[in-house]
Amino acid sequence: MLGVGSLTLPFAKRTLANGLDVIVHEDHHVPIVAVNIWYHVGSKDEQPGRTGFAHLFEHLMFEGSEHHDAGFFPPVQQAGGVLNGSTNTDRTNYWEVVPTSAVDLALWMESDRMGYLLPAVTLERFETQRHVVLNERRQNYENRPYGFASMAMAAALFPEDHPYSWLTIGSSDDIRAMRLEDVQAFFRTYYHPANASLTLAGDIETERAFDLAERYFGELPRGPRPAPVRRTADLANEARLVLEDRVEMPRVYMAWLSPAMFGEGDAEMDLLADLLANGKTSRLYRTLVYERRVALDVSAYQNSRELAGFFLLVATAAPGGSLTDIAAVIDAALQRLIEAGPSESEMERARAQAEAHFMYRLQTVGGFGGKSDQLNAYNVLHGDPGFFSADLSRYREATTASVRAAAVRFLGVDRRVILSVVPRGQRELALSGSQPVSVA
């Protein structure tokens, strides 16, 4: 058995006078340093009618800042680095992975856009990025099979005033209606040291990393911490919906509200997703795809976020298989789990997989999901960058009883959303009683 000691993610953390959290992790295997910043702002901070703003704003962060009034890609690439950013419901992250020789450059640039973005935001840049984002939406949602399903599910799971009821990409109408003036208030509210977390991971000594963080970010003024967003959601019954799309095969999406990130039962729901529908060893793959061949694929996902979570099951019908058959098999599998829970053998397998996946997460310092991103995730969403080992323990300590209890509590067949996505003009392929929804 592997020692627990090797499955840790060591770090040091300090908070600057202006409220910026700085976290450092040393890893000297490759002469690169990952610089990663999380701003605690995402589409959860948007209002109905203004959806998609946090993400469009992220695009502007790459177009220049006061002291480097030009694109952010060339200097970083000239130094041999890579950079990117992303926005989700809860946070916006930005990162560079640079050779050790270019740490100063990355920190200079990140601090310049944190402190001095606005003078570089012009109407022309804003308009261009508006079009880029509209094209991102066309590419990833509108021109992609089943691309509207996630929008329909979000809108059905959460009430209209809950920010999880829209996707981070936002609605096209809202994106078209955004104004340059909105950028300024948004920047002042959310983009400042007290609402951010900076991690440096890689080939750098801890003290030098803290010194550099102070040098580049110490001068930036603290802003007011935004008030936490609080919204609740509740599903009282089963909603059945149908959406027509340019697809060959009907597909069913089933979702339940579930624990928020790191909440009680969150890890159990994650384990349930695996044992129900992920990989060839899962219960539903075996029944639906391997034995009865009524489905082409099946997958499940515990989508846990800061304010709430939802558990999503998706299966695509095989020719000759109906969504009604698939839903019946799923319901029977859920019923068995609720009555008897998983087997000890399934739990053993799940624990082995969890341990391996935590180990794989220790392989890269930067980028999406690298060690720097994980430290910031734990710091921003859990208040403790040192949560890595405890996070793994949540999975190690889950039992057949705790997994069954989570299934009983969260996977009731009488409070969920079921969406049938069917080929255009073939609404009769949906589950019975489904109401048409339209998404644009």
Binding site: S6, H29, I32, G80, D112, T128, N135, E248, M249, Q363
Partner: protein
């Protein structure tokens, strides 16, 4: 000390980096083994390269290489497909199959303490697949259904049509999944014969990377694969015919369209057959592509995305293979901007051939990002194993990694113009559009590309 914001900070001298040392070994059965010590986290990766890529698909059997590879984990010896997956899951293994143009790579990553079990499972999958009729029927049906679904995925539709436009009936001209007609006609005997002819130790290379000594890594491969004996079936030396040269366009048309009525974007490919991976011009082609379209800051993306807002992103590149490779520009653009985007791309292809040679700044940026960022690709066992497997695929020397940076630095702006003139030619390029034909047809006419060839969404 406060930051000086009057200028960007200087970047220090490039840090030294020791590229992985590769040790080569040959097992008693002729199997080639390459080992690399990688001492970071306790994770081991094995990559097995089998001489069974798409190019090995016989005419009328398109999809055979891929379905044979897929049958590996559908049951081995007395184990069922589910039991094989169970074995992989119990060691937390990440198992992947990549059916490439010239070879198929089977890779497995697991925790070091499970490395022996992982290697044994991989050997079972490769050497002792059950190849049962019932499993073949199930896998075949899933692939046929997948083909139907791919009709709705514009990037895949474009890739299929573009390869066919480039290579015609040559096996490079189809995706690994093949065609419905060929899949439907495959018999279990075809799969068994293909496996017997192509899966043999004398034509297989295994790369093993992990936190063990070269001897320990070799032992992993030897323990699992030394019992694999060379099949009695003679080696199928009859490869496919050589593909046409770069000057030999396989399509008579310069514009091709796959209709997707009502599509909000057009999926575009612009390109032609261009160069072989073994050309001495390879480093110059990399720099040329970095200037033109290989990166975010390249000309094509800056024009189409950052200046015009036509797209979420546009890029160009070579789809390298042992034979001649296509060079192409790829983008998904707003339907209303289709003709303008194509026109801009063609202008960029033309410009780099001499009317707008790369500036000093562009050369510096292209070379810096290719060389200074190079060590980043050697962080994980999986990255190292894949890089070393690429050397095996293209028969490159073990010193390749160390030599890469100086070779790129030696490229001059004049070399970029020279290779652009030789290997990139807008006049020869085929432009493919997967999109709303009716909406774009009229705007395409002034481009002077002639009458479009209309292609079905499935070829």
């Amino acid at each position: 000390m406060r930051a000086d914001r009057s200028r960007l900070p200087d970047v220090g001298p490039d840090p030294t980096f020791r590229f992985p040392r590769i040790a080569r070994h040959t097992l008693g059965n002729g199997l080639q083994v390459r080992t690399v010590e990688h001492h970071t986290v306790p994770v081991v990766t094995l990559v097995v390269q089998v001489d069974a890529g798409v190019v090995a698909d016989p005419p009328g059997r398109e999809g055979l290489a891929a379905i044979t590879a897929d049958m590996g984990d559908e049951g081995t010896g007395s184990l069922s497909a589910i039991e094989v997956s169970e074995g992989l899951a119990r060691i937390g293994a990440a198992y992947e199959v990549d059916v490439g143009a010239d070879a198929t790579h089977f890779s497995l990553t697991t925790l070091s303490r499970f490395a022996e079990r992982g290697a044994a499972l991989l050997a079972d999958i490769l050497v002792r697949p059950s190849l049962r009729a019932g499993d073949l029927d199930r896998v075949r049906q899933m692939r046929l259904d997948r083909l139907r679904q791919l009709k709705d995925l514009p990037p895949v539709v474009a890739e299929r049509a573009f390869l066919r436009l480039m290579y015609g009936e040559h096996p490079y001209g189809h995706l690994s999944i093949g065609s419905a007609a060929a899949l439907g006609a495959l018999a279990l005997d075809d799969v068994a014969a293909f496996h017997a002819a192509r899966f043999r130790p004398s034509r297989t290379t295994i790369t093993v990377v992990g936190p063990l000594s070269h001897g320990g890594l070799l032992q992993l491969a030897d323990g699992a694969f030394s019992g694999w004996s060379e099949p009695l079936v003679p080696i199928d030396v009859q490869g496919p015919r050589e593909v046409g040269s770069q000057d030999d366009p396989t399509s008579q048309h310069r514009l091709a369209i796959v209709r997707r009525d009502g599509a909000p974007q057009s999926q575009i490919r612009i390109g032609h057959l261009s160069a072989r991976r073994d050309t001495p011009d390879y480093p110059a082609l990399l720099v040329m592509n970095a200037v033109l379209g290989g990166q975010f800051v390249s000309r094509i993306n800056l024009k189409l995305r950052e200046e015009k807002g036509y797209t979420y992103g546009a890029r160009s590149g070579f789809d390298w293979r042992r034979g001649i490779a296509p060079f192409s520009v790829q983008a998904s653009v707003h339907t209303a901007s289709t003709a303008d985007a194509i026109s801009d791309c063609l202008a960029e292809l033309d410009g780099i051939r001499g009317s707008r040679p790369p500036s000093e700044r562009e050369m510096s940026l292209a070379k810096a990002s290719l060389t200074r960022g190079y060590p980043r690709g050697f962080e994980t066992a999986q990255q190292v194993a894949r890089s070393v497997a690429q050397l095996a695929l293209f028969e490159l020397p073990d010193t390749y990694f160390e030599e890469f940076v100086p070779r790129v630095h030696a490229v001059e702006a004049a070399d970029v113009v020279r290779v652009a003139e030789r290997y990139v030619d807008p006049a020869r390029a085929v432009t493919l559009v997967v999109g709303d034909h009716q909406a774009v047809a009229e705007s395409l006419q002034p481009l002077g590309l002639g009458e479009p060839q209309l292609l079905p969404s499935v070829v």
